[in-house]
């Protein structure tokens, strides 16, 4: 038991002293996951709304495939991105593997299905009435998509927060494409995983606390915004 208590004490000391290594790991994690969430949201939200209100024959099958991709394992995404970016891969000449950009690409691909699937489901259930109103007021397709996003913005924001949580807490994809290089591609989850295997708990606990804090702050902000709305 003692080593766990000692771990917590050391973790608190690292947090209070604003340890440089901890700060650099945390900031890189936030930069990578925020960028990935933003890119994924820009790509998937308009598309999800478009397909959510569109009526087409294979929509049921499309829905099933969409929801299946939402739970795609992060290691598979990491593996695919690593193959594509490896020296022999189609984008090997860009020398992106084991860089921050590779991690952003992997996390973007990881959360695209999540943002898309959640927003698609939301639009399918609540977008119809907004689409009908928009149509009767003379809105075109693009006007309608923008209107639906605005009307459902609180719920979409929750989807984005869920995607961010998934991105910042995943370890498989960033480990494979980033390589967990100290001071360069080391993020919170890869550090926790590494420290755990080394039996060095204080740093792992400190980063675990920060991960939980980040999640708490984001969801609290959304909750208060939701109440205001």
């Amino acid at each position: 038991m003692n080593y766990i208590l000692e771990g917590f004490k050391e973790a608190i000391r690292l947090l209070i002293s604003l340890d440089k290594e901890v700060l650099s790991i945390v900031s890189l994690s936030i930069i990578v996951s925020t960028s990935a969430t933003i890119f994924a949201s820009i790509i998937s939200i308009p598309l999800a709304v478009y397909f959510g209100i569109k009526k087409f024959k294979a929509k049921r099958l499309f829905s099933r495939i969409t929801y299946t991709f939402m739970s795609i394992p992060s290691v598979i995404v990491g593996l695919v991105v690593a193959i594509i970016l490896s020296r022999k891969g189609p984008f090997g000449h860009l020398n992106l593997l084991y860089t921050k950009n590779a991690m952003i690409i992997a996390q973007t691909l990881l959360v695209i299905p999540l943002v898309f699937g959640l927003t698609y489901g939301l639009t399918k259930s609540r977008g119809d009435v907004i689409e009908r109103i928009a149509f009767t007021l003379g809105a075109n397709k693009w006007d309608t998509i923008v209107l639906i996003i605005r009307e459902l913005k609180v719920d979409i924001l929750v989807n984005i927060a869920t995607a961010f949580s998934r991105a910042i807490s995943e370890v498989g994809a960033v480990m494979i494409v980033g390589g967990n290089i100290k001071g360069y591609t080391r993020v919170m989850t890869t550090t926790i995983s590494m420290m755990n295997s080394m039996g060095d708990y204080p740093m792992a606990i400190a980063l675990g606390i920060i991960l939980l804090l980040i999640s708490f702050i984001i969801h609290s902000l959304i909750y208060s915004y939701n109440r205001e709305d």
Binding site: F135, T136, G138, L147
Partner: protein, 203 residues
């Protein structure tokens, strides 16, 4: 806008809900559609509005099939209006904004319509928090503000107070007389259909 319906049939599964051989809604007139529940009044309105395309038969609008130019010139006010989660002003502004009208023109038209419907004091309020009568007035203001050629109304005065009903009816008549707009109103209220309609269609 003159609407000519020929050989219109509509089914929900096996059940036939509409069977209209020939029906004309004359231009610049108010036509009231009445009939018992489930006779297809709302379905007919949705079909005319272009919201329901799953039917057999033909509908011509001033001699043309439904297209974007036509849908831009007509609107439908629902029995339970959906107002956007914005201010009343922004709700009424929406159809003008998507038509690319300038801020000054938008403002002038909005102030004009809210005065007619006596809802000036609601302009800054959040629209989705209004009462039933207020919501229906805002929905009608949003529909009339862009001066459509065809106004479709699906029981717009059910469940609202008599004062609000009187204002809505007055503005529907004013729209028809001043703007020469065609109106088709679905109503359960026979008295209302007599008050408003140049013609009553019993379904």
């Amino acid at each position: 806008m003159r609407i000519h319906i020929t050989k219109l049939k509509k089914y929900y599964g096996e059940r036939q809900v509409l069977d209209i051989d020939d029906l004309i809604f004359e231009e610049h007139k108010i036509t009231a559609i009445t009939g018992p529940n489930g006779c297809g009044k709302t379905t007919l309105l949705n079909i005319i509005a272009g919201l329901d395309k799953d039917y057999k038969g033909e509908i011509r609008y001033n001699g043309f099939y439904l297209n974007k130019d036509i849908t831009d010139k007509m609107t439908l006010v629902f029995q339970k209006p959906y107002l956007f989660k914005r201010s009343v002003y922004e709700n009424i502004e929406y159809p003008l904004k998507i038509r690319g009208l300038s801020k000054d023109i938008r403002n002038k038209k909005i102030l004009d319509i809210v005065k007619k419907l006596e809802i000036e004091d609601l302009l800054e309020k959040r629209a989705h928090l209004l009462s039933g009568g207020e919501s229906q007035k805002v929905a009608l203001a949003r529909a009339l503000v862009f001066e459509p050629d065809l106004l479709l109304l699906d029981e717009p005065t059910s469940n609202i107070d008599p004062d609000a009903v009187a204002i809505l009816e007055r503005e529907i008549i004013r729209f028809n007389e001043e703007s020469k707009g065609t109106v088709i109103i679905v109503t359960h209220n026979l008295e209302q259909s007599k008050r408003l309609g140049h013609r009553i269609v019993e379904m």
